[in-house]
Amino acid sequence: MFAYVIRRILATIPVMGVVAIFVFLLLHLTPGDPAAVIAGDYASPADVERIRETLGLNKPLHVQFFAWTGRLFQGDLGISIFSKVPVIKLIGQRIEPTLALATTTIIFAVLVAVPLGVLAAWKSGTWIDRSVMIFAVLGFSVPIFIIAYSMIWTLSISLHWFPVQGYKSFLIESGFGLEGVCRDTGRSGCGLVPFFRHIALPSIALGLVYVALIARITRASVMEVLTEDYIRTAHAKGLSSRVVLIRHALKNASVPIVTIIGIGIALLLGGVVVTESVFNIPGLGRLTVDAILHRDYPIIQGLILIFAGVYVLINLLVDISYTFLDPRIRY
């Protein structure tokens, strides 16, 4: 097992190398010039060229690539072309909101979807099953932004239960919360209560699609397991339906469920872009979009490398989790 994990981690190195080359070339061969964006509408072509020169963008591509990879090996992701802030600091500023959104979303999705899927499988063919499946189809079909705006209109604007937008850190200097630095300078501070008030609507809006996805897979997987001989045997032994469902059916149906949750976490990284925009959460998704629109190459390169690393890591964790869920699987 240990050797397998090491092998998999080592295997990520060439993957990341290919990602790095691909991303670098793709970005630099795509039309768009950060120097022109910086110089603005009123700059002369000579000014734009001068800025390109100071940014080093007029050097041959291979020189720029080796300079970037050289810094990368020293753990330096570079400096934003526009804000002159180190990329690692920018990512550091944005990672907490994205991680918080992704975590609360996936927790919400799993807590809602798995019971719904099991219930639908158990009551297969009944109105409960059909209701869950209609909910799942809706969750897939309705775009996130429609769900988000509807929730904002009803729960924030009309009922004033939640704020419209923004993010509050759960880190707080003192009081109820984890120790940390509150960057908030506004009227409401940081802490767990402001955090949950701000993250609730985005998590639900983003989570509904994953509820639909996980509930469908759970239902199909549990339904398949429920036809197995050992389930019939469990019933024959006089075990209650609840015990049969949770201890025998759900556990044996969990491999595809865990797989889809893992895929869901990876997909979340893409899904957060819209949610972060609608709820104005300063996370990695928005940082990526802004950087692409402005051709801020160091930020885009750094983010894609990190995203690729997260994908690889999640896949590894999912594969390892199989060994705990199914004793037949060994590496």
Binding site: T30, P31, G32, D33, P34, A36, V37, I38, A39, G40, D41, Y42, A43, S44, P45, D47, V48, R50, I51, E53, T54, S80, F82, S83, K84, V85, L90, Q93, R94, Y149, I152, W153, S156, I157, H160, P163, V164, Q165, G166, R183, T185, G186, R187, S277, V278, F279, N280, P282, R286, L287, D290, L293, H294, R295
Partner: protein
């Protein structure tokens, strides 16, 4: 007492902090928070002393003596000196068009003492005060000499100004939030605030710029009271807020914005003035403005190259633009050598106003018999593509659209679109009309050398008439961006640039 925080949703994210390094309007607005200017434009577009106590001009008009007012301090506590100002002017003049022009006329710029300095011209120049009081990008903001001595093509590493607010670097989250603290050491002028001039009295402790990329979210945040001021609401969302007594909708930029249809003067058929004149006959401003703005109270047709409602406003030469004539346009396009080739129109789909204008132009070109290929791209791609002087066969272009604020086009020198400086000096599209005193460049030079406003107006009128012959660009209309803010705010200033002094939170 609770901290008074003014929360603003700006029109864009503040990415660059150096307003000399970039011309981006958001950085210009940031500049006005942090820095101050020697001279500032008032509501009548007259230059007024701001950091200066005043100035003297010699009888021959060649020597300007400037004196700083008392009490000026940088945010680090050091006093503002004439050496700081000289270095700042020199750095600015390397980047700004009006600054470069001023530098061309400058014989020397030298210190007299810590509070005064002298500008000596090599020949009379009528725009010295207008240049130093320029209200829009690049604004000649003053910086400490250690920063102002830096290369103008590199951004300054720290933000130290002498303006009414102090930039809180630790609280800055690029792409999300900018925080400014009241500069308690700032001494405002005694005059009332007017445009960029007058007393910059700050009535709040902190101003937060919260960048919200989604317009609907910004509107909801304003309605819910989570922000106080929305600089540039999407015009189609304005009706949703108009009936709300908690929200005030107001046009605070009286100069407005001008749309530009920019042909490439290097590539056929628009290398021929007849073909460019065809565009003037083709454009109906009303079609554009209804399409991109909609509500009539936020736009007006305007044939003036230097904006309607400004001192240089005139309709001379504009007959072709005022009355659309597609048949005439078709005939002129043919006379201009158009032979049915495909015209390349670059369409920045991520900027709704320009995307709308591009689609209107494409349809009008088809209406006059042209074949058009609308190439969709984002603005970043367009900014690099437009710099290409290639032929169409090699990936060049024929037309793109942009817009410019009134503050940037209301003077022949500031209006870079009207320059006929050819590939060496003209803006992208490269109009070429520089031979003789009656050319675009000849008239711009004459304007810059003239100090008498009446004579300047006469020259600008001739310049506009010439522009309608050369057609450096076609003006597709003037519109006025509304601003939305909580009705509890008092003292929001009318100005082409949004200023956050003078505002009181009730």
């Amino acid at each position: 007492m609770a901290e008074k925080v003014l929360r603003v949703a700006p029109h864009a994210d503040l990415k660059n902090l150096d307003p000399i390094w970039t011309t981006a309007y958001i950085t210009r607005n940031h500049g006005y928070m942090v820095y101050d200017t020697l001279i500032a434009m008032d509501g009548d577009l007259n230059p007024q002393p701001q950091m200066l106590e005043g100035w003297d001009v010699s009888d021959d008009g060649l020597t300007y003596t400037f004196t700083l007012r008392d009490g000026l301090k940088w945010h680090d506590g050091a006093p503002v000196t004439s050496v700081d100002c000289i270095a700042s002017i020199m750095r600015w003049s390397k980047r700004d068009g009006m600054g470069q022009k001023l530098a061309d006329f400058t014989k020397s710029l030298s210190r007299i003492d810590d509070k005064s300095f002298k500008l000596v011209l090599n020949k009379p120049y009528g725009l010295v005060l207008a240049s130093l009081g320029k209200i829009s990008s690049n604004v000649p903001f003053m910086m400490p000499v250690r920063l102002a001595m830096m290369d103008a093509f590199e951004a300054v590493p720290e933000i130290v100004g002498s303006g009414p607010f102090i930039f809180d670097k630790d609280a800055w989250v690029p792409g999300s939030k900018v925080v400014y603290r009241k500069n308690t050491a700032y001494v405002p002028r005694s005059e009332p605030a007017s445009y960029a001039a007058g007393g910059k009295r700050v009535h709040v402790d902190t101003v937060e710029w919260i960048y919200i990329p989604d317009a609907a979210t910004t509107m909801n945040a304003l309605v819910a009271g989570e922000i106080d001021f929305w600089e540039s609401p999407a015009v189609d969302l304005v009706p949703s807020m108009e009936g709300n007594p908690d929200i005030t909708i107001k046009v605070i930029d009286p100069l407005g914005t001008q749309g530009w249809l920019r042909p490439n003067h290097l590539n056929p058929p628009f290398d021929n003035p007849k073909a460019r004149q065809a565009l003037t006959h083709m454009v109906n401003q009303e079609d554009y403005l209804r399409s991109i703005i909609g509500d009539e109270k936020f736009w007006s047709t305007c044939p003036a190259y230097f904006m309607c409602g400004t001192p240089l406003d005139t309709d001379v030469g504009s007959e072709a633009l005022v009355k659309q004539d597609l048949e005439k346009a078709r005939a002129l396009l043919k006379e201009g050598g158009y032979n049915g080739e495909t015209l390349i129109l670059m369409d920045p789909t991520d900027i709704p106003v320009l995307h709308g204008a591009s689609l209107v132009t494409a349809q009008m070109l088809r209406d006059i018999g042209a074949k058009v290929e609308v190439q969709a791209m984002d603005w970043s791609t367009l900014t690099s593509r437009r710099a290409e002087r290639k032929s169409i066969a090699d990936g060049g272009w024929n037309i793109f659209h942009t817009y410019s604020t009134g503050a940037d086009v209301s003077s022949p020198i500031a209006n870079i679109g009207i320059s006929g400086g050819c590939v060496e000096k003209a803006w992208f599209g490269w109009p070429c009309d520089r031979d003789g005193p009656d050319s675009l460049e000849g008239l711009r030079d004459a304007f810059s050398e003239e100090a008498d406003p009446a004579k300047q107006k006469a020259i600008a009128t001739k310049l506009q008439a010439r522009a309608y012959e050369v057609v450096p660009y076609v003006n597709y209309g003037q519109w006025f961006q509304p601003t939305a803010f909580r009705s509890t705010l008092k003292g929001v200033l009318i100005s082409p640039v949004p200023f956050f002094w003078n505002i009181e939170l009730n």
